[in-house]
Each structure stands twice: as C-alpha cells, then as structure tokens.
C-alpha cells in the first residue's frame, strides 16, 4: 500500500473503510482538494463523518462510522506529531466528537498505508480488528472480555507480536457507558464516548501494523524544522508541562477563583493544597514520560499507596477532587486509576458524580451514601458506573440524560454543554472561555476552545465578557482546529510566535503545497464550520449553544471581593458576536457560500 503517485507528501490519498459485520474492506480515495481543505486529524475526520455517516444515525447503531484519522505530519521527526484523532458521532452529545491521543499507534496506523481507518457495522461476537497493511481480519475477543484496555493491549501484543500497536476499550466501553474511552499505551481518546461506539460494534480492540513508508516533499526542510522545533520545545513555553505537568494548574486556578468546586457551587477549594502537584511531587515518587515522538515529556506518573502508578493530569484531579469535594490525594489518585482501568473519561465521570452528589443532597436521588467529600462514595460510584449496575445505570448515561430522568430542576445544575461535561475552567471568572465552551461543536471542552488563554493573558477583563472575548474565542478555536488537524500537541502552542505562518511552513515542507498562513486561517474556519454543519444535520438547535443555568444565575464572589457574574444577556451578546464574526446568521447557521466551500458535495 505505497503512496499513490498523485498523493501529496505525507499522505497516502485514501482511507480504509472496514465493515465489521461482513469483514469486507474497501478504500475511499481522498482527493487533493479534500486533504488540502481538511488536512487530517479532527478536520479530515469531520469530512469523513459527513461523507460516511448516515444522517440521523444512532451513534451506537452498527451503521454509525468510527474513524481513526491520521495526519500528514505523522511519521515525520517533528516533535509531538505522533498523534491521531478518533472521530464519530458521540453517544453522549448526539453530535460530532473527536478525541486526540498520542502513541506509536498513530505511526503504525498510518503506515498501514491509509490516512484514516474507518470502522462501520458490528461484529456478531466480541472481536479484535486486525489491520495489517491492506489486509483486514477479525479475531475472537472472548478471552479479553471485562479486561482493562491496558491488559487487553498487553495480551494482544504478547500474542500478535511487538510490531503490532493496539487501541482498546475497557469494561465501560463494552457496557455502553456513554463516556467510555479508547486507550492505547496508557493514553486515552477520552471525550465524547468513543469507547462506547467501539463497544457497540463489539470490537474490544483494533490492532494495526505498519506495512509501508511515507515520504515528505522536502525531507531536508522537514528535518531542519524538526531540529528547530525540538530546540524550542525545551524552552520556557513548555516548562510548566515538563516540570510539574498540567496539575500545576490546580493551585494557581484556586488562587484566582477559576477552580470549579462542588459541582460549580464555588470556584475555590480549601482542600486544593493537598492535591497540588507541588505537594504530590514532594510526597510521592514521580517519574516523567513522553508520548511517542515528543520532546516535551509532560506525563507525570505518580505512585499511590500500594505502589500502583498512574498518570495524573489537572483535569483528572479537578473532576475527581474539587468537583466532588474530595481532598484525599490517595482517593483521587485511586479514582483516577479506576477510571483508566474501567475506560472512563475522568471529566465526564467526575462531573456526573458531582451532579449526583448534589441531587442526593437535594433529595432528588435516593442514595444517601453518595455525599460530597466522601472518597469511598466516589470510588463506589465509579465502580457502579463501570459495571452499569445500581446507580451506575443512571450515571453511565452522563449528566444531561440523567438529569432528564431525575427531573426536579436538576438540569439547571447538570454541568454540561451539549451533553459533554465541563472541564476545569470556571466560566463566570473566565468569560472568554465561557463563550468558547458554549459555542464549540464538541460541547464543553477545553481542547477545542482555548479561549482561557485570553482570560489568563492580562489583555482582557476576564470577568466582563464582551467584544474582545469574542475575538479571542474565535482565534483560539481556529488555532485549535489547525493544531488538531496537523496534528501537533497543544502543549507546544506557546513556542510559535506566528502560528499560522509557521504551521503552513511545516505543512508545505511535508506536502509540497504552496500553502501559507492565510490559507490555513481559511482552512481553520472551514473545519470549524464543517463540524457545526454536521451538528446542524444531526439536529443541533440554537439553544444547544448555551451554558448550564447555574452559571448564568448564581454569581460568585471572588477573593478580591468583586462579584463575578455572567448574565444570560451578556452570554447572548457574546454568542451573537461570535456568529457575526464567523459569518453565520443570527441562528448560528452558515450561508450557501460557506456550504459550498465545505467541499461536501461528493
């Protein structure tokens, strides 16, 4: 499966489409216009979902496609480029979701000779999909049932051979938890329930093996760029990630009242110091690790009591600690490890449990054991979610669906946007981020909207959302669209001074295209709109671009004494501003010119 003669550098010019029901595989040609228009990763994944996803499909139905999408930079020596996107219609949101992850799976998957591997249909029994170059087969996965993703991966590589790379789901994915993950090499395609989609196809794992090579248009230029980027990756822009990891956010966010606590009832947490990276690093042994092809090395792996080791990120700790008011570091580490074993998105798990704790407190759920601050309750809730028994049957649906079932006004404090639970950025004290969370196609997500950068920049008043916040939300969303499509790790973003121009130079060196920064800005907008148009096709309504009622009706008093208030009128004004800047109508829908530019007419 060598590169097609007509394919640009860095591409094979085709996707592999596998029918899990029949075992048949076919190739879908990817034209130069499509590749240049969507690049790869999350962008190309959006196009593939338009192309291959039946309108209105149930995300857990056999015919719903799930795509592993690679990018032109995968396989180059560029730091952080060994990433891929998993893209599907989310069972949690009913809209498009894409989750990125890093590992050798990206390289092996792409070097099967495809720019994407798409799975459709469903196996008759639990299976493992094997993609060996152009050859596709399935093997029985009965022996792997109930295993964690890590254990399944280990067993498969033991039996298949070390040249295989494996992405797998845990028990939560097998049981259809709507925020189950897909994991590989300890990394997770975490958000949106992609593990449940794979589980619904009765596919425990997909194993890939490299069969070919891929070339760049200008290898010398790519090598020079890789050396330069590597040097820059050791600089101050990545120091935080290298030295303490993302958990360094915790105390800083607590100090500036941006740490969501007790299901967004507060923005500071008295127990934060116990969970801080600074203390954990002192009290526990920590080792650092890097993703494949990465020179930053952001992974901080902590040892918990009993010797178990786990990767700890800010989002894990925020969701399983302050959100649930749990301050025992061992409990939070154990909960984080349990999420990994079960294959659960920690943000959605923590957010849903925090919502349930508040429901118990208000007498809306009869589970007196589930209390804020109770570490054992947190662990029990996770176990029940992973098993989908007891309260887990309800909580495995995510906070939006659970609130619809419970009623009693609980939707007002269900911490989600479009069904996706909120990350650890308090919207009332980060009002550019508030807009980013409200309008993003994936739902409440900090990786598709980096508008918090503006809130933390000092250039705007983070408590008074307005025009500047709109501009920041658009800009950071565009940057994320390109980084998620090239794909480069966002932890690298601070090393670029003229990002679109610099990214265009990288893409040009790999592909041979005469692409420039202005074109990439247009591409970013196209990708953002393609996701929005997909959602519109699947039933999105303007009311979906909104925030939970609590955030718009309960002001916060921050440390300085100032009141942080985000009113519905202010959010509405920012959303209207966002629509205007994006060229959408006042209902958030694009016009005919933009639809034509999306290159969706096949």
């Amino acid at each position: 499966m060598a590169q097609l003669p007509t394919a640009p550098g860095g591409y094979f010019g085709r996707a592999l489409v596998v029918d899990a029901g029949t075992g048949a595989a076919s190739t879908l040609p990817l034209s130069d216009a499509v590749l240049r228009g969507y690049i790869g990763g999350a962008g190309l994944g959006a196009w593939l979902m338009h192309r291959l996803g039946p309108p209105g499909v149930d995300p857990l139905a056999p015919e719903a496609p799930l795509a592993f999408v690679f990018s032109p930079l995968v396989g180059t020596p560029l730091t952080t480029s060994a990433k891929f996107a998993v893209v599907a219609k989310s069972p949690l949101t009913g809209m498009l979701t894409d989750a990125l992850a890093s590992s050798q799976f990206a390289i092996a998957g792409k070097l099967t000779g495809h720019d994407a591997i798409v799975l459709r249909g469903a196996c008759e029994r639990p299976s493992v999909a094997l993609v060996d170059g152009a050859d596709v087969s399935f093997i029985d996965a009965a022996a792997l049932a109930g295993q964690s993703a890590a254990e399944a991966e280990r067993r498969l590589r033991d039996s298949l051979g070390r040249s295989w790379r494996v992405a797998a789901i845990g028990p939560a994915g097998e049981r259809g938890v709507r925020y189950a993950t897909i994991s590989h090499d300890g990394r997770h395609a975490g958000r949106g329930g992609l593990g449940a989609v794979l589980g619904a196809k009765r596919i425990k794992a997909i194993a890939v093996r490299a069969a070919t090579k891929v070339g760049s248009a200008d290898p010398q230029a790519v090598l020079a760029a890789a050396r330069d980027l590597r040097a820059r990756s050791f600089g101050p822009a990545t120091a935080k990630y290298r030295e303490l990891g993302t958990l360094a956010n915790l105390l800083a966010f607590n100090a500036i009242s941006t740490l969501p606590t007790r299901n967004f009832q507060a923005a500071t947490f008295a127990g934060a110091p116990r969970l801080a990276a600074e203390d954990l690093a002192r009290l526990r042994s920590v080792t650092r690790n890097s993703c494949a092809s990465c020179t930053i090395g952001c992974e901080h792996i902590y040892s918990a009591r009993g010797g178990k080791k786990m990767r700890v990120e800010y989002e894990n700790v925020f969701a399983l600690g302050p959100m649930c008011e749990v301050s025992d570091p061992d409990a939070v580490l154990a909960a984080s490890a349990l999420c990994d074993e079960l294959g659960l998105d920690t943000i959605s798990a923590g957010g849903t449990i925090a919502w349930a704790m508040e429901c118990v407190e208000r007498g809306l759920i009869d589970a007196p054991w589930l209390r804020f601050g109770d570490a054992r309750a947190l662990l029990r809730a996770l176990e029940e979610i992973g098993a989908r028994h007891g309260l887990g049957a309800l909580l495995g649906e995510g906070s939006r669906r659970a609130a619809e079932q419970v009623g009693g006004g609980s939707a007002a404090f269900a911490p989600h946007v479009k069904g996706l639970e909120m990350p650890g950025y308090e919207p009332r004290t980060m009002q550019a981020m508030a807009l980013g969370l409200a309008v993003n196609s994936r739902g409440a997500d900090h990786n598709r909207s980096g508008a918090y950068e503006a809130d933390l920049s000092g250039d705007i008043d983070r408590l008074a959302g307005g025009h500047a916040h709109v501009a920041a939300a658009v800009e950071t969303e565009d940057r994320a669209a390109i980084m998620d499509s090239l794909i480069l790790c966002k932890f690298l973003r601070g090393v670029f001074t003229e990002p679109f121009d610099e990214w265009a130079a990288l893409l040009a060196a790999v592909t041979g295209w005469d692409v420039d920064g202005a074109e990439l800005r247009r591409t970013a907008r196209r990708i953002v709109l393609a996701k929005r148009v997909y959602n519109i096709r699947e039933g999105w309504q303007p009311r979906d671009d909104w925030l939970p009622e609590r955030l718009l009706s309960e002001p916060l008093r921050i440390g300085s004494g100032r009141i942080a208030e985000l009113t519905p009128a202010r959010l509405r004004a920012m959303i209207s501003g966002y629509y205007a800047v994006r060229g959408l109508d006042d209902q958030g829908r694009p016009g005919e010119t933009d639809l034509t530019d999306l290159r969706l007419r096949y």
Binding site: K240, A248, N249, A255, A277, G494
Partner: protein, 297 residues
C-alpha cells in the same frame, strides 16, 4: 519641579501612570486624563483616554467640567484627582465613591455634613435622625489632613453642565460648585470608618500631593508599600507560600520574586485582574500571584 509632575519617576513608573492605574483597579468605567493642549504626557496604557482641556488656565473647575463631560454618558459617578498623589490607595477611592453611590454610606456621610451645619444650600442632607432620611448625594468630599480635598473627591457626572456654567460665570473655585449641590463631607473619622482603609492607609496619606521638589524627595524616600507575593507552579522553585515584600509596581514585585515578567508569566492582582504590565501600581495590602501564562492543559 523641573519635570512635569505627571512624568515624575515613581519606582520605575511615573506618577501619572500610577494614578491612572490605581483608578483603573477600583472602577469598571473609563479612566480619563484631562490635559492642556499640547501637554506631553508619559506613556499610558491604551485603555486610558486622554482628552484636551478646551480652555486652559481656568483652574480645577474647568478640568473637572471637561472630565465629567467626557464620562457623562458612560458613568454615573467619577472619582476626580490630580496626578501627583503617589500614595493614593484603592481603599480610599472606594470609600469616597461610596459616599455618592450609596450602599448605606450616605446616611453616615450626610450625617457628618449635617452635623457641621454646612450642608449645601441646594441640598440639605437632613439629619440622620429624621425618619426616611435619604438623599441623593452629588459630591463625596474628603476632609483630611486639615483640608477639604476637592481633587481627591467623587462627583456625579451629571454635574458637568453645572461646572461648565460656573466656569462661564468665572466662578472658578470648587466651593461655588459645592454651594449648588448636595455634598457629603467625609471627615477623617468617616473615612476611617472603612476598616480596610483604616488598616491600609491609617494616616490618610492618600491625599498627600507633591508641590515642591522637597515634597517629591521626601515622598520618594519612603519605602515602597508592603505587599504579599506568591509564586505558583514551576515559578515557585523552593519558595512556595506567601512572602511579604515591598514593591510599588508589579515589575518591582517580580524582581523581588526573582521572576522575569515575560510572555510566559502573568501576575494576578489580589486574585482578580491578571496583567503582564509591569507598571501596574501596587498599594499596601496587595497580594500578587505569579502564575504561568501557559496555564491550560
């Protein structure tokens, strides 16, 4: 002075930059500088508006009229001060503004005025003992360090036409304005009734200004205000936890903390506003958090 007062050096900044920075910290409305035509000013943040006084040489009432007119459509109340008040404290500004904006403060302020029997002719503030005592105060006028302080006072922006009329009538002293509106006079006890102000500026140094070179020298010899810093994440190194230092600006605080305030570091003032501007003024009691600007992930 040899140097225009606005441009006098102040701990690596200027007096005008400091004054506008203190006001920007306290208010959420515009900060306006009224200058004489062709008057050169030191560098100011982009958010600070500069307007020209259309009529020079007519004293503070003319400047007041021009400034109030500039904000009249955007603010109800303005704090008006001169540029040469290096010890102006945010708590002082808040206390004086409250005398006009209310929040239960009018009764106290008006009571002081009534007790002295010098409530204005148009707006007798009445007596706090009167049932239903309430008044719409137009001016919050501090009486501190032995003098009324019309250039460290709060004014309703709607007074702009009155001030302009008085200027046109050549009645150029602020006292003429006070004769025609409701003035809440805040003596030192009233000012110190604010516990924050009493703690952080007990001598009411906020109203000290600089008129002579010797004033400037004495002021400059004073130690910088006492503040607390805290470093977070990788910036902390081995120096975690709060630390008390003296610094008059964020840049000086960063220096004391051993931190370069570059593109990768921001400062959060009192857990509230975030800045990269090293000239952001600090006042006694402030807390500055230094955090990584790359705070996502």
């Amino acid at each position: 002075m040899g140097t225009p007062k606005a441009a006098l050096e102040w701990h690596g900044s200027t007096l005008l930059r400091r004054t506008t920075g203190i006001l920007a910290r306290v208010t959420d409305g515009p900060v306006v500088v009224v200058r004489a035509a062709d008057q050169e000013l030191p560098a100011l943040p982009a958010q600070v508006e500069v307007i020209e006084d259309p009529r020079e040489g007519l004293g503070p009432l003319q400047g007041l009229a021009a400034g109030l007119a500039a904000v009249a459509d955007r603010a109800e109340v303005a704090f008006v001060c001169s540029t040469d008040m290096p010890f102006l404290h945010p708590a002082f500004v808040r206390r004086v503004l409250r005398a006009v904006t209310g929040d239960g403060e009018n009764a106290v302020a008006g009571g002081d005025a009534g007790g002295r029997g010098d409530a204005s002719s148009r707006g007798d503030a009445g007596s706090p003992a009167d049932p239903g005592y309430a008044v719409r105060v137009d001016v919050g006028l501090p009486l501190a360090r032995g003098f009324p302080q019309p250039l460290a006072a709060a004014y309703r922006a709607s007074l702009a036409p009155l001030a302009e009329r008085l200027v046109a009538e050549q009645r150029l002293r602020p006292a003429f304005l006070f004769d025609e509106c409701v003035v809440a006079r805040l003596d030192e006890a009233a000012l110190r009734s604010d516990p924050v102000l009493a703690a952080l500026d007990p001598e009411l140094d906020s109203v000290l200004n600089i008129n002579e070179p010797a004033d400037y020298s004495r002021a400059r010899e004073r130690p910088a205000p006492e503040i607390t810093i805290q470093r977070f994440g990788t910036l902390a190194g081995g120096r975690r936890g709060p630390e008390v230092i003296r610094a008059a600006t964020v840049a000086r605080a960063a220096e004391a903390a051993g931190i370069a305030l570059d593109g990768h570091v921001v400062a959060a003032l009192n857990g509230d506003q975030i800045t990269r501007d090293g000239q952001t003024p600090l006042a006694a009691g402030d807390t500055v958090f230094f955090i990584a600007a790359d705070a996502g992930g």
